[in-house]
């Protein structure tokens, strides 16, 4: 109940701020980027943080969602076309995720990383060379249907969906694979099945994120979804903490603030990103949040303990 109230309040406050133009168009674009990054980071966190499978191909799935949604909304520019586009994009990404995941998830650790990287590069090259995707120039003039309301709905749905998945028996199985794959296997967990499941769910959400991206920014090209995009998402997940959903959300917001601030120095931004990545890994490999979650209950407890301390004094 408390959760519902906070969610409703967050939505309403930002909606009012947008309606009263306090949040300008530029800020709104940043807001949308944050939302898309949250979806991407939370879904990659499911694969990398919770299931322990290192994927470097998230941008590939995102591009599939983006292109499929762009095709459909360009042909049927209605709100139904948009919704069909988002879901077909997500399903297409999930399908490719399944086809790629089934053979490659037998690989461990760094081999899987390279295989997924190769996969996303192949997807990018195919989009670059197809006629219907308009090659390197990309697709332009995709009708814009995404607004704050849609964005909010999709972010909440993804985050709730994934956090409920993690709390379910399936999610526990995924975590056990991260902790020790051989032990999980010995305990009778079908490791391949759960790895593929996590991978497919992750790809599905990345597809949604891509579709939302295409619909909001009405322009996509293959180069937007290269290796660097995958690294960007990975940085968010790592900074927030592998295995912490609220960490991913916090990190997505934090990094958006930093990159807005460094907008005019793109090179320095990347140098700082890189240095931050190394420093986090050396000094705090568990990220900002570790695998802990920030929730209202935790905040409440924190407040209570502060109160009781004060009371004692």
């Amino acid at each position: 109940m408390k959760k519902l109230v906070t969610l409703g309040l967050t939505y309403a406050i930002i909606q009012i701020l947008i309606m009263t133009n306090i949040i300008s168009d530029y800020l709104q674009a940043t807001l949308v980027t944050v939302c898309i990054n949250i979806i991407l980071a939370v879904s990659l966190n499911l694969i990398t943080g919770f299931t322990g499978q290192f994927s470097l191909g998230h941008a590939g799935f995102m591009s599939i969602g983006a292109y499929v949604c762009a095709f459909i909304t360009l042909r049927t520019p209605t709100i139904y076309g948009f919704l069909i586009g988002v879901f077909s994009g997500a399903i297409a990404a999930a399908l490719i995720g399944f086809l790629v995941g089934l053979p490659t998830l037998r690989l461990r650790g760094d081999y899987l990383a390279i295989a997924t990287l190769g996969m996303s590069e192949i997807i990018r090259i195919i989009f670059l060379n197809l006629e219907i995707t308009n090659g390197a120039a990309g697709l332009n003039g995709i009708p814009q249907f995404v607004n704050w309301t849609w964005m909010f709905v999709f972010v909440v749905a993804t985050v709730l969906g994934i956090s409920n998945f993690i709390k379910s028996a399936h999610g526990r199985a995924c975590i056990s694979i991260r902790e020790d794959e051989i032990a999980a296997d010995a305990m009778g967990i079908n490791t391949i099945k759960y790895k593929v499941t996590a991978f497919v769910i992750g790809a599905f959400c990345a597809g949604i994120a891509g579709a939302l991206y295409a619909s909001y920014f009405y322009f996509i090209k293959p180069d937007l979804f290269g290796f660097l995009k995958s690294v960007d998402i990975l940085v968010i997940v790592v900074l927030g903490g592998l295995g912490s959903i609220s960490g991913s959300i916090l990190a997505a917001i934090l990094l958006a603030l930093i990159s807005t601030y460094l907008q005019s120095f793109p090179e320095i931004r990347m140098v700082l990103y890189a240095a931050a990545l190394i420093a986090i890994m050396i000094f705090r490999p568990q990220g900002l949040m570790g695998s802990k979650e920030l929730s209202l209950e935790v905040l409440g407890k924190l407040g209570n303990s502060l109160k009781s301390k004060r009371g004692r004094v």
């Binding site: 760094d110 990287l117 592998l242 890189a274």
Partner: protein, 301 residues
């Protein structure tokens, strides 16, 4: 390298080009394979050491007006130091961390070098100075054209490979390298200084990458801060193809990937040549993850 192959001579020409390109991949693949063999880490920064090697060679030739060979040696030395430094600063603190943390650090180092370079020397493409004297000559055999640069490039590669084999197989430090890659703890118990052996391995691999960088600069003329990314991935694929951790495997893999790429481009698929290489990677990983010369090992608890 563009255009379709029509006849036998065209095919021979492609083979010559493939060997040249393959030499570069093989040199880089050796660094990947040695580092992976010794600390089980995909050293993403390796590709950027190659890029920095190319830049050092460029600065030596353009501003210091040094000759090709002295520039090559300076680049190799600078890259050796850089490789050792990177290992000390970034990888050593993570020696006992999880594989994922080490890999993320490697990506971080790679981005740091790329964008740091971009910040200092700008993202512009730079052009190597024209080669003169013997380096500028070409040999014509019918319609087959072999440039002196290609011959020098391939001979330097082969010389470096022989030197590497010599170091690894016969010297004391080579023996230490093999021991550490087999079992780090046991090697340490036998009195081998594991840290300095790993440093040496990084230095050796980076020197080869630096050499590859200068050779590429001379051969293709243009360099830029992101030039290492794609060749780096391909060289890594070459190392995986040959069986990662196995030195002859990396050489075979390098030449194989070079040949495949040139052939795909030569037969009209130049837009898809990167995709074909990645497809080969995925195929190898699925069919024989241990690579061409690798042995299957079971993962133990």
């Amino acid at each position: 390298m563009e255009g379709k192959v029509k006849d036998l001579e065209g095919l021979l020409q492609q083979i010559v080009n493939g060997i040249t390109l393959g030499s570069i991949y093989a040199l880089m693949a050796l660094g990947y394979t040695m580092v992976y063999g010794i600390i089980r880490l995909i050293n993403f920064a390796h590709a950027d050491i190659y890029m920095i090697g190319a830049y050092v060679g460029y600065f030596c030739m353009t501003f210091l007006k040094l000759g090709f060979f002295s520039s090559l040696i300076i680049a190799m030395l600078v890259c050796t130091l850089l490789g050792i430094l990177i290992e000390k600063i970034a990888y050593r603190p993570l020696r006992n961390a999880t594989r994922i943390s080490a890999l993320i650090t490697a990506i971080g180092v790679s981005l740091f070098l790329e964008y740091g370079m971009m910040f200092f020397v700008s993202a512009n493409v730079r052009t190597y100075p024209e080669m003169t004297g013997i380096m500028a000559k070409t040999m014509n055999m019918g319609s087959l054209v072999i440039s002196m640069q290609q011959i020098i490039l391939v001979s330097i590669t082969i010389a470096l490979m022989i030197l590497l084999q010599f170091i690894v197989k016969t010297t004391k430090i080579g023996k230490a390298m093999r021991a550490v890659s087999m079992d780090k703890d046991a090697a340490e118990l036998m009195g081998i200084n594991v840290d300095s052996t790993i440093s040496f391995t990084f230095g050796l691999g980076s020197a080869l990458a630096g050499a590859a960088g200068v050779l590429v600069g001379v051969y293709y003329n243009t360099i830029n801060p992101l030039m290492g990314v794609v060749p780096g991935l391909k060289a890594f694929i070459a190392a995986v193809f040959g069986g990662i951790g196995i030195i002859p495997g990396a050489m075979i893999g390098g030449y194989f990937i070079g040949a495949v790429e040139v052939m795909v481009a030569g037969y009209g698929g130049s837009m898809y040549r990167d995709a074909v290489v990645f497809a080969i990677l995925i195929l190898i990983l699925i069919v024989k993850p241990s690579g061409l010369l690798g042995k299957n090992t079971r993962e133990k608890v």
